[in-house]
Amino acid sequence: MNAEFIQNLPTAEQAIARLRELGMPKRNNELWSFFPVAKIPTPEFMGTDFAASTTASAASPAAPAENAAASQEADFAALLPIANLARPMVREIVAGAAEMAMLKCNNDFGHTVLDIGKGAKVSLEILDNKVTHDIAAERFDINIGEDADVEIFFANPACDLPLRFRHFNIREAAGANVRFSSICRDTAIGRVSVECHLKGEGANFDYRSLHVLDGNASQHSRLTIYHEAPRTTSTQLARNLLSGNAHVSYDGSVIVGYDCTGVNSSQLVNTILMSEDASVSVKPVLKIYHDDVECTHGNTVGELDAEQMFYLVSRGIPKKAAQEMLMRSFAQETFLPLPDSPAKKRLMAEI
């Protein structure tokens, strides 16, 4: 087990202290600029005077021990499960192992810690957690050893939970390869945040998400990929099929550090709006501190292709069925480039 990785995880006290310091998310905080923050209930442990707690230290509990990871964490969703006393499920997958696993938290608040050894091959499906209240939050801390090959995916059935957060903190060593893929059909408000640190040379992170939303669903993705070593690569592909009043936001940051030569990164967001009132917000951020890198970003918003619709219908296929065919093909293309694996099989079957 990677001791440094485990020790750096914040304790509940540290998370609470940091949350009280941060205060509740506000729209003027760029991490939450697209999110309906008014829908987030104030956790009991923050009390009613949390906003003043940073200046009125007498009202605060005794300061917990310093923790760099906790003190630098700015994401409410990353701290919430720990602050809510989620008991961490800690698991080590030893070097060279090959494992297929399914994870399911048995509480509204879950914290999973995985330490994946060198050269391991892991397929990890995340199932919906057991939910009893109006808010759920899960956190995953995943440390990935050299040359390990890991797929993380979820394709949960539509969830009408009023508010759900999922936060992933991923750290990759040299030559590691991670494929992160998801399908979301939730009907309420949700946020998936991913922070991926490519710490070793040649590490790769591949992110693919598909949102198929209707009604008043409001789903938010926040990605931050840190290229912290030379020749690291990352791909982001987010596709959205939105109807009704559905809204998706995609906030994707790529940060390339000093001396990180040969980095290659791409980000592409494709959205099809099926109704007048559906909407998408996309915010790409590139912070590049080295010259020899290749980073691209793109965003398309449109309707179903009129010529493709005409072609299908002109062969006798009813309009509604033709629309469904095109929507399905748009959705499937998200995951077609994945290698044959349990994740691909599951995601394609879900579509």
């Binding site: 010529e307 005409f310 299908l312 219908v313 002109s314 009813p318 309009k319 065919m325």
Partner: protein, 249 residues
């Protein structure tokens, strides 16, 4: 069978492309439509199919006595009309075979026939693919996805063979075909053709008509059919071009 009377149509900006087309097509006939670029040949096929980029200003198009212009696009196809456009649309992600099966079963549902099952459809598909000398790769690909011009045209004729329409309007089916592919596609069309069906071919060249013998040849120019004749007309056009027609007037 197909009766086009005084058909007029324009594009969105109001420019009229078809200025009164008249054409009678009977069962068993092959009609070749020739004409210079921009004369309205492709527009004619799209207007009959119901392409939303065109507005019908007047006239009628009847198939077996039913007004196609009053039908939805899919109803026109299911009533027996097949249009192959000059540049078949690529639809990546929609599997070619699934699309064909969906199209065929849509037609069968329209006609009140039971859905064709997987085994029967596979057999039909293989038979038609053999006819057109198509290999199994076509089955795995998206509709026209990444296909060369010639492959797309062959794929169009495969659709025609499976959907078995009464009237097929094939717009420049010979473009993009090499010599062997032209022979294969033409043989396929001849094989599908029967005394109960009709084909309208749009072409610029006699070479397709060497394989598919036309009953009539028409010249379309400035949105109207200005001359009709037998197969010899195509040979004369190949030899002399179109200007002599205007001069003779």
């Amino acid at each position: 069978m197909l009766s086009i009377k005084n058909l007029k149509a324009s594009i969105e900006d109001g420019t009229q492309i078809l200025k009164g087309i008249n054409l009678e097509v009977k069962p068993g006939e092959v009609h070749a439509i020739m004409g210079p670029n921009g004369s309205g040949k492709s527009t004619l096929s799209k207007v009959i199919a119901g392409h939303p980029a065109y507005r019908v200003d007047g006239g009628s198009v009847e198939l077996d006595g039913k007004n196609l212009l009053e039908m939805e696009i899919n109803e026109r196809a299911n009533s027996g009309l097949f249009i192959s456009t000059q540049y078949p649309t690529e639809i990546p992600g929609v599997n070619n075979v699934e699309f064909l099966k969906m199209a065929l079963n849509s037609k069968r549902a329209f006609l009140g026939l039971p859905e064709m099952g997987d085994a029967e459809f596979k057999k039909l598909c293989e038979e038609k693919m053999d006819l057109l000398e198509m290999d199994a790769r076509y089955r795995e690909r998206g509709v026209n996805d990444g296909m060369s011009g010639g492959e797309k045209k062959r794929n169009e004729i495969l659709q025609m063979a499976i959907l078995d329409p009464k009237v097929s309007f094939l717009d420049e089916t010979d473009s993009g075909l090499d010599i062997d592919a032209l022979r294969i596609v033409a043989n396929g069309i001849n094989h599908i053709m029967s005394p109960e069906k009709a084909v309208i071919l749009v072409t610029h060249y006699q070479r397709l008509l060497d394989y598919i013998k036309p009953t009539y040849v028409h010249v379309l120019r400035h949105g109207k059919i200005i001359l009709s004749g037998g197969p010899e007309l195509a040979l004369k056009l190949e030899d002399q071009g179109y200007d002599w027609i205007e001069e003779a007037k």
